[in-house]
Amino acid sequence: MVIPAAGGRADDSSLHLRDVAKAFRKEDGSTMTAIERLTLTVAAGEMVALIGPSGCGKSTLLRMIAGLERPTSGAIHVGGQPIEGPGAERGLMFQDPSLFPWKSVRRNIESGLVARGVLHRYRGEVDEYLKLVGLEAFADAYPHQLSGGMAQRAALARALINHPKVLLLDEPLGALDQFTRMRMQDEVIRIWQARRTTMVLVTHDIDEAIYMCDRIVVLSPRPGRIERAIDVPLARPRQRNHPRFLELRAEILEMLHFADGGPTGVAPAPGGSASGAGGRP
């Protein structure tokens, strides 16, 4: 039951960003550099977190990998193929589940198959995905009838149905309450371990990054650059209160200048820099 993903070699799901830069033209005609010459390689099957204060261009980076925006310069390759635009081999999931409200859960999950015109071939898989995310009983429910966690699970199934090589997660659990969120983290890890999809997770939550990812890329803001990349050497399943876990978290907090009484090296983004990361004790 393997769907050959569109484009590139079917087995290679590595992600390469080379000298990627993104500048936006502002209304007064000046340009604003959001991301500056960023180079990053994500190995096939790796789960990488992008963290950093608001304004460091995390979401922009993710949208460029998804193909929804073009880099001003530099190149992005998935499985050796350059990215020309959005495609089914790169799934995307937002903080807002963005389920199509006029479709039932089943029809939402089917969307990717319908969009690619292959529903008739893979119709049977829809039930597998409903089961994978535990929504069999809600197949015919409409999005407004779902809780936040259920809606996000449906969005996850919808993003996975095309067997993407890379799954891009833009703060997917940010709007959930703490308990639902921890449960969902385990679900994503379970699916990732089963499928070995390459995943890039943008998050504000340092604990989430440490708990879920193989590697944490810390970005600095305005313009976005890689401040540091940290390997997470903890064995899975991880313990949220393991001494090394806490050590790592302190290290990252310090790097983001929240541990030593305020930002010094990194210019704080007005208003929003402390929103997620700094808010956690």
Partner: protein
């Protein structure tokens, strides 16, 4: 066209029927009163109407006819059945419980009408015939009225269908494609607000026959609101839906027809309702000005002969005809926008 008053939702009222509770629930309106009174109210009103009509002396000349007395007797029988059905379970019983005050009220209006015209001569003839005369006119002219209704319906639906089709196409084009929007929007803003009826002189010379010119006028009247609301619905599709669809492998056709259009549906239905109201208005104007058939034409024709009973007969049929079409459109909307229940209340 009082489309504002028609944008109350008969379907939702009925949907709330089976359980009689809830905030401002329709069913508990008469809850505190002795039930037999509520049950017998329509029958009582019908009986009173019959007594008034048969036993009070006429103060106004009217051709002798028993038709209205028979009609009231039938109403009385129907009311009694309705009163009995109140105690049955299920939808029909609930409907009878909910509607009986309304039926009684409607019959009371008939009594007042009879009193103000036939029984007192208070309202001047021939402009205000009594209900009996209107009913007699309906029977007398049943054939022409049916034919007129058919002609009106045919003209209205032809024009409406053409206007909706054109409006949907233009709306999607203007809403989706930036270039079409740039050129189309100003045109729409300039041409759209002119009432379609202002084009009567033009339509009469541009089309080979009255039917086509009438249909074109109706289509034009419908086209504007449908185009406007379709394009705004399509242009305002939440970007996240489009982004998600793109990353699912969607092409342009999928984005337009499977994302933008369904997402614009609530807005499109607003346009359809406004268009239907505009279509009614334009239909009647077209039929009184150029088209020589249909209810509007019948109205004007009978007015010329001062046959006001027939005018009222045509008005009554028009009321049923228009509200029937509105209700039908509400039903279509409810089945098409079922997914919205609980998201929006409107």
């Amino acid at each position: 066209m009082s489309s504002a008053s028609q944008v109350m939702d008969p379907a939702r009222e009925e949907a709330a029927l089976p359980d009689d509770s809830g905030p401002a629930g329709p069913g508990d309106f008469f809850e505190g009163r002795p039930r037999p009174v509520a049950a017998l109210a329509p029958a009582g009103a019908a009986l009173l109407a019959l007594l008034v009509h048969v036993f009070l002396p006429d103060r106004q000349f009217s051709p002798p006819s028993r038709l209205y007395a028979w009609f009231l007797s039938a109403l009385l029988a129907g009311s009694l059945v309705m009163g009995g059905l109140r105690w049955t379970r299920g939808r029909l019983g609930a409907w009878c419980r909910y509607r009986s005050p309304l039926v009684a009220g409607a019959i009371a209006l008939l009594i007042l009408w009879d009193l103000a015209t036939l029984k007192s001569g208070w309202l001047p003839q021939p402009f205000f015939p009594g209900p009996g005369q209107v009913l007699a006119a309906m029977r007398e002219d049943a054939g022409p009225l049916a034919l007129s209704t058919y002609h009106s319906l045919r003209l209205l639906l032809s024009g409406y269908a053409a206007g909706v089709s054109a409006g949907l196409v233009c709306g999607v084009l203007i809403g989706w494609f930036r270039t079409v929007r740039y050129w189309g929007m100003p045109l729409l803003k300039v041409i759209g607000p002119i009432p379609a009826t202002a084009y009567v002189p033009l339509a009469m010379v541009m089309f080979p026959n009255a039917f086509l010119s009438g249909a074109a006028l109706i289509a034009l009247a419908v086209w504007f609101p449908v185009t406007m609301l379709t394009s705004s619905g399509v242009a305002n599709v939440p970007l996240a839906y489009l982004d998600v669809a793109r990353t699912l492998g969607a092409g342009r056709a999928y984005l337009i027809f499977r994302v933008a259009l369904p997402s614009a549906m609530p807005s499109i239905f607003l346009g359809l309702f406004m268009g239907l109201g505009a279509a009614f208005l334009t239909l009647i104007v077209a039929e009184t000005l150029g088209v020589s058939s249909g209810l509007g034409w019948y109205l004007k024709w009978k007015q010329g002969y001062l046959e006001y009973a027939h005018v009222y007969a045509a008005l009554a049929i028009m009321a049923l005809f228009f509200s029937g079409l509105m209700t039908a459109l509400f039903r279509v909307r409810d089945s098409a926008l079922g997914w919205q229940k609980g998201v929006l209340r409107w």
